[in-house]
C-alpha cells in the first residue's frame, strides 16, 4: 500500500517564478487500486507522479510504500517498487539499443546488475512470448534498434518492460497523450489487460475525463495543487463527464474553464 501524506512541492522558491505545484496532497492507495488522476494544466498531477517516482523531492510530507519510508530515496533506488511508463515514447525506451536490449534492461529493474551476460536464450524466449501478445510482429525483430519503431509500438513495449519484474505500483504518466487516437485506444486497452492480469496497483495521470472514468476503480481530481474530489466504489459507478464537472463545481466553487480538459 502507498501512503502519501501532506505533500508540498514548490518550484523556484523565493523567485518571481515561484510556483506551488502541490499544496498538501494526502493520498492512500490500497493494494490493487487503479487510481486515475485528472486535472488541468498546472493542477499538479505530473508533480504528484514525479514525487512518487523520486524525480522530485517534496519540501514537506512523506511517501511510504508498504510502510517503508521512501521520501528521501532517489529515482533509481525506488525503481524496485515503482515501475514507470513515460508520456513521451522516446523517454521510456533507449533509441539506439535494440528491442531485446531494452527489455533486458527492464529485466534488471530492482535486481543487482552483475557481470553476467544481459541477454540469454531464456530471456529471449520470454521476450518473444511477451511481444507476441501485442500482435505487432515485434517478436521477430528483437535485434532491431528500438528507434526504428513508431511511438505506439515503443509505448506498447514500455508497458511490457514495466511488468517484467514485480513492483508495488505502476506509474503511468499520460502515456497515451502523445499518440494518435487509434493507437491511444490500443495502448489503453493493453494497459487495462496488463493491470488486470497482473493484479497491479496503478496510478495513472491523464488529461482525458473519459479515460479517468473508463479505467480503474478510483478517480481523483487535482486543482491548483490540491485534491478537489476523490470518488470510488458505488459513488463512481455510472458517473459521466458532466457529473465530474458538477463535482468540481461543488468542491471548488469554480467553473472548469480548461478547454483541453473539456475537449478530450
Amino acid at each position: 500500500m502507498i501512503r502519501m501524506t501532506d505533500l508540498h512541492v514548490t518550484f523556484n522558491r523565493g523567485t518571481a517564478m515561484e510556483n506551488k505545484a502541490l499544496r498538501g496532497v494526502t493520498l492512500d492507495i490500497k493494494k490493487g487500486d487503479f487510481v486515475c488522476v485528472i486535472g488541468g494544466n498546472g493542477a499538479g498531477k505530473s508533480t504528484l507522479l514525479n514525487a512518487l517516482c523520486g524525480d522530485i523531492f517534496p519540501d514537506t510530507g512523506k511517501i511510504l510504500i508498504d510502510n517503508k519510508d521512501v521520501t528521501s530515496l532517489s529515482t533509481w533506488q525506488r525503481a524496485p517498487y515503482v515501475a514507470r511508463v513515460f508520456q513521451d515514447p522516446m523517454a521510456g525506451t533507449c533509441a539506439n539499443l535494440t528491442i531485446e536490449e531494452n527489455l533486458a534492461l527492464a529485466m534488471g529493474r530492482g535486481m543487482k546488475r552483475t557481470l553476467r551476460m544481459a541477454l540469454n536464450k531464456d530471456y529471449r524466449e520470454k521476450f518473444r512470448t511477451q511481444l507476441g501478445r501485442l500482435k505487432l510482429g515485434l517478436e521477430n525483430r528483437l535485434k532491431d534498434p528500438i528507434g526504428m519503431l513508431s511511438g505506439g509500438q515503443r509505448q506498447a513495449i514500455s508497458l511490457i518492460m514495466a511488468v517484467l519484474q514485480p513492483m508495488k505500483i505502476i506509474a503511468l504518466d499520460e502515456h497515451t497523450a502523445a499518440l494518435d487516437p487509434k493507437t491511444a485506444a490500443f495502448i489503453l486497452e493493453l494497459t487495462r489487460e496488463i493491470v488486470e492480469e497482473n493484479h497491479l496497483t496503478a496510478l495513472m495521470v491523464t488529461h482525458s475525463m473519459h479515460q479517468a472514468l473508463e479505467l480503474g476503480n478510483r478517480t481523483l481530481m487535482l486543482h491548483k495543487g490540491r485534491v478537489v474530489f476523490d470518488v470510488q466504489g458505488e459513488k463512481r459507478q455510472g458517473l459521466k463527464v458532466s457529473d465530474l464537472l458538477e463535482l468540481f463545481h461543488k468542491a471548488s466553487g469554480l467553473e472548469l474553464d480548461d478547454d483541453s480538459l473539456l475537449l478530450s
Binding site: 533506488q77 525503481a79 534492461l105 535486481m111 546488475r113 551476460m117 544481459a118
Partner: protein, 298 residues
C-alpha cells in the same frame, strides 16, 4: 612511405586504438566528453617509467599505471557528479592538475627507458625479433582489450552503463545507479588510456610530459573516422571501427607528413589531425545533404 614506416604507423595505430576505445566509452557510450585523457596518457607513462627505473617489475609498473589512470578518471567523475560541474570543465580541472602531478611523479620532464627491462624486452631479445614483432604484440593486446570491453558492455552492468549515456531518465527509472556508472565508466576509460601511455613509454623507450597533448584528438579522430567509414550499428562493430579508425588515422597522417610537395613537418601533426577530424565530422552531414537533394529531385 616504406615498410618500416608503415609498420610503425600500424603499431602506433593499434596502441592508440586503446585510447580510442577509452574515448568511445566516455564520449559515445556515457555521453560524457572527457578531456582527462590528455593527462591520463602521460600519467600512465610517468607512473610506469618511474617504477621501472626504480627497479620494479615492468608488469607491476604497467598495472600501477592503469590504477593511476583510473584514479584520474574517478577524480573527474567526482568533480562532475558530486559538485554538479559541467563534464568538460570537470575534466579540464583534472587535466590541468595532472600537468603538475605528472612532473612531480617523474621528477623531471622525461625519463629514458633504454636498457631497462620492459614488458617488451622478452620479444626484443628473442630470435624471432623483427619488424613485425611489436605490431603483432600490440595487435594481440588491442584485440584482448576489445574482447574484454565487448564482454563487459554486453553484461547486465555494461547495459546499465550504455543506458546511462543513451537515456539517463529511462536508466534511472529502470533502477540503474547512473552516478556510479559515470564513476565506473570514466575510471575504465582513463585506466585504458593510462595503459596505452604505459605501453607507449615502454615501446618508445621513454616517458615524456609532452606525450600528453594531442591524445584526445587522436582518440576522437579514431572514433569519428571509424564511424564515418564503417557506420557501426552494434557495440562490437563500434569497438572494431574505432581501432581501425585509429590505424587509419596514423597511416593517413604518416602519408600526409611524407608527401614532400606538401612541405609538412612533424610539428604540423596537430594541424593535419584537426583537418582530418574536421573532414570526418563533416562527411556524414554532406552525405545526408546530397541524399536529401537527390531524393527531392526524384
Amino acid at each position: 612511405m616504406n615498410l618500416i614506416q608503415f609498420m610503425g604507423a600500424v603499431e602506433l595505430g593499434l596502441l592508440y586504438g586503446l585510447v580510442a576505445m577509452g574515448v568511445l566509452l566516455s564520449f559515445r557510450i556515457l555521453d560524457f566528453p572527457d578531456l582527462t585523457v590528455d593527462g591520463s596518457f602521460p600519467l600512465g607513462g610517468a607512473v610506469c617509467a618511474i617504477l621501472i627505473v626504480s627497479g620494479f617489475d615492468p608488469w607491476l609498473a604497467t598495472f600501477c599505471a592503469i590504477l593511476a589512470g583510473m584514479a584520474a578518471g574517478f577524480t573527474t567523475a567526482w568533480i562532475s557528479v558530486r559538485w554538479n560541474i559541467l563534464h568538460l570543465l570537470a575534466s579540464i580541472l583534472t587535466l590541468t592538475a595532472l600537468y603538475s602531478i605528472n612532473l612531480r611523479i617523474m621528477g623531471r620532464p622525461n625519463i629514458a627507458l633504454l636498457g631497462e627491462t620492459t614488458i617488451f624486452s622478452p620479444l626484443e631479445e628473442s630470435n624471432l625479433h623483427n619488424l613485425f614483432t611489436l605490431p603483432t604484440a600490440m595487435f594481440i593486446l588491442a584485440t584482448l582489450v576489445l574482447l574484454l570491453l565487448y564482454r563487459f558492455l554486453s553484461s547486465e552492468k555494461g547495459l546499465g552503463m550504455r543506458a546511462t549515456g543513451a537515456n539517463i531518465r529511462m536508466a534511472k527509472a529502470q533502477g540503474v545507479s547512473v552516478n556510479r556508472q559515470i564513476f565506473l565508466g570514466l575510471a575504465l576509460s582513463n585506466g585504458l588510456v593510462a595503459l596505452a601511455g604505459a605501453l607507449y613509454s615502454q615501446s618508445q623507450g621513454f616517458a615524456d610530459l609532452s606525450m600528453g597533448p594531442g591524445t584526445i584528438i587522436a582518440g576522437l579522430a579514431a572514433v569519428i573516422m571509424g564511424e564515418a567509414l564503417f557506420n557501426p550499428k552494434v557495440i562490437l562493430t563500434a569497438l572494431m571501427a574505432c581501432v581501425l579508425g585509429s590505424i587509419l588515422y596514423r597511416l593517413v597522417t604518416a602519408i600526409a607528413l611524407n608527401m614532400g610537395f606538401l612541405g609538412l613537418h612533424t610539428q604540423d601533426l596537430p594541424l593535419v589531425s584537426a583537418v582530418l577530424v574536421g573532414i570526418a565530422m563533416v562527411t556524414p552531414r554532406l552525405r545526408a545533404k546530397i541524399l536529401d537533394f537527390k531524393a527531392s529531385r526524384s
